[in-house]
Point group: none
């Protein structure tokens, strides 16, 4: 795979590293998705004991970030500022938006997105920490 | 049925007991749904004189609780705290969320969900009282 | 309740009698829904061991029948004759259509619908037999 | 995890073994999903070079099988026999149906479903071979 695509190997590395970070930091069981630049899922894992909507939430963070071009932490700020706007966009985004931290865009060599990572399960701040740990472990660059 | 599944017999017991509790306590006519761990309906009854959206509301409480892994009373708190987040999740949840009290998760022998009960019709506090009475009558354990 | 509405008591009678008919006739485990004239669920039960889509299928038969004003057996004939038409209507009907036998309209004193019954689980011919048995047991009149 | 739930460890084993089977047999790049009894995704992986709809197709096989209670190979037969019926059910099933072979139900100790596996990428016959290899590698029982 070129540096312009996230391979399945790298996606699996991201998920394993995000889960390892969660375990080390004493977080609750996590779920992690890696999506390509189009917001389509490459890999997803949901740890034992987590509730059933986790793929949708994780994807709503990751694909939502790509849909708007900013990390989901920024989308939460936008949602607080203009709830009617983000609520409407959530209906437009395939699979919906999850406007809270934990969705981080991955940049390619040209600075444009090649995909994104979404983590859910603990506080959204911690979810983002785990996502960033996953991206770093794969040698990739977050937005 | 094993202890990891709610049988139809137990679901019917839950509904009858929830309605009996409502009658004893002078509540308005109630509706009650019992769903499996995946949020799919096992049994539902709507008492005479109730409005037509009752299945959707009751299921939105019960399946919503399972979707997020907490009772719907807690989802109401989350909705007050971060309305943009719960509004977005409602869009992601199959059948939607009803973020008010009255949706209670039923735990299995391993402490993980085997289903949930949703009641609607009176105040949401009373709806929850009726749901808990139903779960107790069936010898099951609420979250 | 007037004769122009199906009471919860009658709905429960319908379901019990449909299940009894299924048991007597050696049918597979059944699911049965009773809906009001607007296609909204009054009561539903899914027997142990049945798959998770049963409410949707049963309601698609019952509410679909009311949506078009003919029993679902007739909708199947229409679907064979003009599949593009019924496929399109399925997208228009809230909750969708299930264009096979087993959905039977219940008539009121004026000959117009007061609700419908949908059964699924065995062959669609047998499903319809069980639905008719339920309606008869409640002293109601099928279309 | 009890025998009534598919753990993430087992889900990952299923996917790895399905992919290994595909490689050994010279199949095209595969995608594999493992869902719980409610049709909700536990884990998914899409091999490099596959098209973007793969999660939806794999889930449509696996969750569709659970929705109707038969493997997706059987749903394909039903679709050939009564296309209007399966087309309508696809509209009712959350996430849709993929009515071709490759979706296999996993049974629990009581013979009822605890989840399902869906594979897509090669011929649907080969997809099913890979799904069955995954289930066997995890020590689980297919329907």
């Amino acid at each position: 795979m070129s540096d312009f695509r996230i391979s399945l190997d790298k996606a699996n590395t991201i998920i394993s590293a995000a889960f390892a970070k969660g375990k080390d930091a004493g977080m609750k069981p996590l779920s992690c998705v890696v999506v390509d630049a189009g917001g389509h899922v490459i890999a997803f894992q949901r740890q034992d004991g987590t509730s059933f909507l986790r793929l949708d939430i994780a994807r709503g963070k990751a694909a939502g970030a790509l849909a708007l071009g900013v990390n989901s932490r920024r989308i939460e700020e936008m949602a607080k500022d203009r709830p009617h706007f983000i609520s409407a966009l959530a209906h437009l985004t395939p699979g919906g938006l999850a406007p809270v931290a934990g969705g981080v865009i991955v940049k390619g060599p040209d600075g444009l997105p090649i995909g994104a990572v979404g983590v859910t399960g603990d506080t959204s701040d911690n979810d983002e920490v785990a996502a960033l740990a996953g991206i770093a472990a794969a040698g990739l660059t977050p937005l």
